[in-house]
Amino acid sequence: MFVSAVPGPGFVPPSTNDFNLPPVFGNSAFTTKPILLVFLSVILISIFFIAAARKAAIVPGKLQFVGESVYAFVRKDLAEEIIGHGFLQFVPFLFTLFTFVLVNNIFGIIPFLQFPAMSHVAFPYVLAGFSYFIFHTIGIKKQGLGKYLKGIAFLPGVPKFAYILLTPIEIATYFLIRPVTLSLRLFANMFAGHLLLLVFIGGGNYMLHDNHLFMKILSPFSFGFGIAMTFFEFMVQCLQAYIITLLSALFIAGALVDEH
């Protein structure tokens, strides 16, 4: 075979080091690309929704229509359908979560920005932390601290000795695993997606600059895959923003009903 399967000495496969970007300006840890992108997303979202809501009319213009359909999607399809009675007080949180995650994810495929901030695990952890705080507070407020904890730790209709096995699992699920599963899915998808794009684009770039003519001819396939994966990433990014909002809504709904 004329193409070696071992990567050549010049090719550096993308790794986690590609996610530790140097500061854009200055020498501080607070001016790195992800943090600037998060601030940019906040500014963009605020400007967009202020502009969409300022000239609110009965017959909506284009801007107002887009803004209202995003809002209606979160309010009707997520909050009302899942939480049900008393959903209105959670709409602001869910709406903020959805738009924030969506815009930050889509930054991953916009030229020149091209970095999803959520591929740094700290950002999803903080979002999951908000959600965690809210649903536990709601549960304690609604049912009282003792009853809420008892409902979590002791499942009714189980023989007494099984509690030794089951209670640690229940407590760990509610207090340790839930925020982790909530955030890790978003993080892993964004991380893997960005790495995938790096592999295809970086690989295509390396093949194009290789000395063999054969490699040069094959490089457009790698670039083509990179472009196809970019569209695929767009889908994944929207889906992940939807899923983290959906799961937050489900946890809030679970804390609201006292099923135990």
Partner: protein, 64 residues
């Protein structure tokens, strides 16, 4: 209704992971404490935790 199932699936996964981590972690700790060269407590703990979490899944979602 569909979102209901999605929530159930993720909480099943959460139960399985935490059962494995809690009891497997206790087994791992015992192994380190008693005899660091064998993994018998780890294996016992993993099996015990997995059994307990499948039992828990059956209790929560399996019975009518």
């Amino acid at each position: 209704m569909a979102s209901n199932e999605e929530g159930a699936l993720w909480s099943i996964l959460g139960y399985l992971i935490s059962g494995l981590l809690i009891w497997g972690g206790i087994g791992y700790g015992l192994d380190h404490w008693i005899n660091p060269h064998h993994h018998w407590f780890l294996l016992t703990g993993c099996l015990l935790g997995m059994g307990a979490s499948i039992y828990l899944v059956w209790l929560r979602f399996g019975r009518e």
